[in-house]
Amino acid sequence: MIEEKFDAIVIGAGMAGNAAAHTMASRGLNVLQLERGEYPGSKNVQGAILYADMVEKIIPNFREEAPLERHLVEQRFWMMTDRSHTGLQYRSDDFNEDKPNRYTIIRSQFDRWFSKEVQGQGALVICETTVMELVSDAYGKVIGVRTDRRGGTIFADVVVVAEGVNGLLGARAGLRESPKPEHVALAVKEMHFLPREVIEARFNLQGDEGVVIEAAGTVSKGMTGMGFVYTNKESVSVGFGCLVSDFAENQETPYGLLENFKSHPSIKPLLEGSEVKEYAAHLIPEGGYKTIPQLFGDGWVVVGDAAQLNNAIHREGSNLALTSGRLAGEAIFQIHSRREPMTKQNLAVYKKLLDDSFVMKDLKKYKDMPALLHAQSQNYFLAYPTLVSKAMENFLRVDGTPKLEKEKATISSFIKQRSLAGLVGDAWRLACAWR
């Protein structure tokens, strides 16, 4: 079908693929991007929060055109028991700025817009085309791709693998292993539609202000997991996710956990009367730094979720995808400009750029957190939320008990549950992993 050879083929039109394709096409490279969905975005799922800084580095004036929902002025972290939540909230009018820092978005709409920008830079984007395999030469160098369309192989100097978390191609080509069940979370999500003014009243918002709720605790039934509520203009995204390995060891269903989360007394009134228009599921890379695979080789680089680039602690993924895609594009442009071949040795510059960026620095910082949260899930998601809730209730309920007795009861409940050594150990382990 396609006779010509491209400077680069990008597999996938998500955040990472679009960032890579835009970066290369805008610098004059001849880029082909392949997407299996009906249109770019139709297979992509995210919460979703967009981080402006990482988009600006690709499209500086994106705010003028991109379909953005609400800019975030408030974050609520909730530690939940079945009937309560203890919250840490931050809201600031400083987030109402000319160029806000974070926005909620609807991925199918944003990605479709992003792809138009990519095409505007001259990249050829072909949808409804599934890449079946990476094609290599006799020396193992990736030289192109084979798709499910007639016409065989399409060739390129380099292939940017942006196929997402469930990346078949890289695993089949032996470039990396598939993620382990303990290194990915399964999240399910619903889109709840409500009138704009109802959302603004319920969440204490004005105009395009937005709020994010992230909640963890007994709602994950002792598994490593969390729920979220993100406000869009006329909809609310509600989701819940847990590690796949935890799901495998329990009898819970993802939709059962989502229903349970939605019926929580702190969540239910926020969704009252909404109309649900979509139900989605997606995997999220959670293994962090220690699970990042080989990122480059002869004729290929891997970017975004396919490379497990996700900061599970801060729940940042799209910005790591955008940045890794952009840096891969810049690296390829550098090599192309020098008229040098896309060898493993030359493409190592991509890894170098990534190492020098926040992407690897942040993932390295939290390299021990995923394993700790997994190993200690019963304590962090069941025991502590319950203890904290009881402590708060005890603190607030006025019933004639002297305050000193209340304090003693709270302290002894913690020691009884976890022992003094256990409490100190939990705090120490968390502090060490956080550093």
Binding site: R36, G37, E38, G41, S42, K43, N44, V45, Q46, A48, I106, R107, S108, Q109, D111, C127, E128, T129, T130, T147, D148, R149, V165, N166, L168, S178, P179, K180, P181, V184, L186, V188, E190, M191, S235, V244, F247, A248, Q251, E252, T253, P254, Y255, G256, E259, V276, K277, E278, Y279, A280, A281, H282, L283
Partner: protein, 96 residues
């Protein structure tokens, strides 16, 4: 059964273009399902996996959300084969 009914209601909100006769996930013939394959009957977010009367696990992937969870749990062991649907087919997210 209550939960199963509810997930079907959820899937009803979604748009799909089903590639009739070409399921993208196939369960390998088995007498007794492995632990992970049996677990898919509750883990699959679309409820695609069901245990039949003979105790074997079957799949009807029409409502598949293409998350890949079953691939993570069951592909390496050979319990299933997993491919992306043909270009343009499968779930079509309006919002994602």
């Amino acid at each position: 059964m209550g939960m199963a009914a509810r997930v079907e209601e959820k899937l009803f909100q979604n748009r799909y273009l089903v590639d009739s006769g070409k399921p993208h996930i196939v369960v390998a013939p088995h007498e007794k399902p492995s632990t992970n394959l049996l677990a898919m009957t509750h883990i699959c977010p679309a409820g695609c996996y069901v245990e039949n009367a003979a105790g074997q696990v079957e799949i009807a992937p029409d409502g598949c959300l293409e998350c890949g969870t079953c691939r993570i749990l069951c592909e390496a062991s050979g319990d299933i084969t997993w491919n992306y649907p043909r270009g343009g087919y499968g779930v079509l997210f309006k919002f994602g």
